[in-house]
């Protein structure tokens, strides 16, 4: 039965290089189609290149294909260095890794997995260091701001605090009006606090993110606790999804998880793919699930 299913499926779940390559190409495609900030030349060239790869599947295995995508995005990032989102930098790095991987004569998959292990260590490690070094983050400042303006967990808070939405909507308006007036430079504004234990909630959320990210970096560097670390990464991606609309970045993190996941763990691999499909489809369809502002 299993072998029959495998024969009829669109891809082999154990073919990491093939699946991850198609996912990354899809991420590029969505970005080029959606992101109007990228120049029309780069967008059209990128879309054409990716379309060619979907029709001529050998292109996915060509280093030149990956280096072309990497170069196109690198041009955009270089031209908009201080305005580009971090996930565009990540796309440059990831596609260059695929280019180098396909340039190898042997052990391509090992090259890919080791490169992604170090990339995960770099970007997740730096994210953890930045947060760990920020007093504002430890004090829960970011979560504080989000909750005061009704940006996150509003469905949870609304269940316990009936006038939560009114308070946060009024806070948002007050803040917008405050920012729109240059006479307010140097002045302060105090918003209405919808929750009594906001400080504690903010600090707890901030602390737990730093701890989970730190643990993930440590676990990814070891060969042990395979199930635990991938379960933790899945939980991390899903919970982050409820806090920030960063679906492209989260799909890249999930793709990294898929690449680093052992082949025998088919359920975990499927979970990553379902998650990536959901994240990419919400991004492609401009769907905002409503958890945010």
């Amino acid at each position: 039965m299993n072998s029959e299913v495998r024969q009829h499926s669109l891809f082999d779940l154990k073919d990491t290089l093939d699946i991850a390559g198609k996912i990354l190409s899809m991420v590029f495609m969505i970005t080029f189609v959606k992101y109007e900030g990228i120049s029309p030349f780069i967008r059209s060239t990128g879309v054409l290149t990716i379309l060619c790869a979907y029709f001529m599947k050998d292109l996915f295995k060509q280093p030149l294909y990956w280096f072309s995508l990497s170069a196109l995005m690198a041009i955009h990032v270089a031209q908009n260095y201080f305005a580009s989102a971090n996930h565009l930098f990540v796309m440059v790095y990831f596609s260059a890794i695929f280019g180098l991987t396909h340039y190898q004569l042997e052990n391509k998959e090992k090259f890919l997995i080791t490169s992604f292990k170090w990339m995960f260590t770099v970007f997740m490690g730096l994210a953890t260091l930045h947060k760990g070094a920020s007093l504002f983050y430890w004090q829960g400042g970011l979560f504080h701001d989000y909750i005061l303006r009704g940006g996150i967990l509003k469905f949870v808070f609304k269940a316990f605090i009936p006038n939560f939405s009114e308070i946060t909507a009024s806070n948002s308006q007050l803040l917008n009006d405050f920012l729109a007036n240059a006479e307010n430079f140097g002045k302060t504004l105090k918003l209405n606090n919808p929750i009594s234990s906001l400080g504690l909630i903010g600090s707890l959320l901030a602390g737990s993110v730093v701890i989970v990210e730190g643990i993930l970096v440590g676990l990814m560097l070891t060969k042990k606790f395979e199930k635990t670390k991938h379960a933790l990464l899945l939980v991390f991606v899903i919970s982050t999804f409820f806090f920030r609309l960063e679906n492209i970045f989260l799909s890249l993190v999930s793709m990294t998880g898929f690449i680093l996941c052992p082949k025998e763990q088919l359920t975990v691999r499927r979970s990553y793919l379902v998650l990536i499909a959901y994240l990419l489809s919400t991004s492609a369809l401009h769907m905002r699930p409503g958890f945010y502002y």
């Binding site: 971090n86 930098f89 890794i97 829960g140 400042g141 405050f178 240059a182 504004l189």
Partner: protein
């Protein structure tokens, strides 16, 4: 036969090292300048309020005997409504708005000067006399202990065009 460097095991470290290098440069720049932690490839997101909601940029200039102070949206609206730049007003207005919004992520002097020079040159071409251009960048800082937001000026540059 000896393998080329790109086909050796050491090649695994090329891209992670490049990412680390760029991130460390970004760390150095934001510590010493007004670059926001959210931009520049350094993964410092979430450690400050997002600049799209917390940073504002203002263009101030003399026009027809008045001192004008505008945010990107207001500048765009005025250019489109008054057709200040003829048939291409909406394109020019969108460009100015986009450039101003991007500048607030990293408002350094030479970039502000370059923008002011373009703004004055385009205005002059359409017959508008604009002078004494200044650019201000404001940032909202939250004190989580008191729930208070403070609106600070992080950049106020004048005499941008000689």
């Amino acid at each position: 036969m000896k393998k080329s460097f790109l086909r050796s095991d050491k090649a695994i470290l090329i891209i992670p090292s490049l990412a680390l290098f760029i991130a460390l440069i970004q760390w150095g720049i934001f510590l010493t300048t007004d670059l926001t932690e959210w931009k520049g490839g350094g993964f410092g997101m979430y450690t400050t309020l997002h600049p799209n909601t917390a940073r504002t940029i203002w263009l101030e200039y003399d026009f027809n005997g008045f001192r004008v102070l505008q945010r990107p949206d207001e500048l765009q609206k005025r250019i489109v409504e008054e057709k200040s730049f003829g048939e291409r007003s909406s394109d020019v207005a969108a460009w100015f708005k986009n450039e101003m919004q991007k500048m607030r992520y990293f408002p350094y002097r030479s970039r502000l000067e370059s923008f002011a020079k373009d703004f004055k040159a385009i205005a002059n071409q359409s017959g508008q006399k604009i002078s004494n251009i200044c650019i201000k960048v404001g940032e909202l800082k939250l004190n989580p202990k008191t729930d208070e937001y403070k609106y600070e000026i992080i950049k106020n540059e004048c005499e941008l065009v000689k």
